[in-house]
Symmetry: C2
Subunit: 135 residues, 2 copies
């Protein structure tokens, strides 16, 4: 099972620790191709062209995409839109925050399953349910 985890990089890193916790949970169910998204240090060495080429390759190899969509991000949105266009299963998790509503393009897409969570334990349970229901 190849998992593409998508989280904000340049849109803002305030949820990086959560990404790392979600990736740890996802690793119980398969290979997380984009494990660096949860890292406390993101290498700035590759060029944008190289990052895009590598991420698109991983996206094509992935069986599904899991996005953490609390922090708005063009890159996360791009990966989700492309994954939906390719017919890949897409699941989005977002934290309950009063000031930010989830994008209508994610929440309104019948091809995307969106889940809200408050605590990390709740997010772990959502991930476990996603993979239980896949089988």
């Amino acid at each position: 099972m190849n998992i593409y985890f998508s989280g904000s990089i340049r849109g803002g890193r305030q949820d990086a620790k959560t990404y790392n916790q979600l990736i740890d949970e996802l690793k119980k169910f398969g290979d997380v191709l984009t494990e660096h998204v949860g890292s406390s240090e993101i290498s700035s060495e590759p060029t944008d062209r190289e990052i895009h080429r590598q991420d698109m390759q991983w996206l094509k190899e992935a069986n599904l995409l899991i996005g953490e969509v609390t922090t708005p991000s063009h890159g996360v949105g791009y990966e989700i839109g492309y994954a939906v266009a390719m017919g890949k299963p897409v699941f989005c998790l977002h934290q309950k925050k009063e000031e930010k509503a989830l994008s209508a393009m994610l929440n309104g897409d019948p091809a995307i399953k969106c889940f809200e969570y408050a605590e990390i334990e709740e997010a772990r349970a959502i991930i476990q349910n996603i993979f239980t229901n896949l089988q």
Copy 2:
């Protein structure tokens, strides 16, 4: 010429006035299907499912997508990713701001042409150039 203009709604409306100015410029070159993106009042009446269905219909009818990508937005990213996957021409404009770098997925995608601008006049000139070079 059907133009899909993409700008942040729920990601943040701080650039709404700029969207409106860009849409006014774009209207010289074709029909802007998503003119409401620049409006000072966004109707909250349609459900997210209806918003997604309508926007996807417009995206399919569009000859090209122009995105204003200064404010990070999942919806804008989604529309761009989907448009690229459909093989539509995509052009992104973003304001020069030191604190925010453009997403590598946009800047690194050879299918997307990205332009940086400081003043609205510069953005208008970029739009004029885009349409001049299309012909």
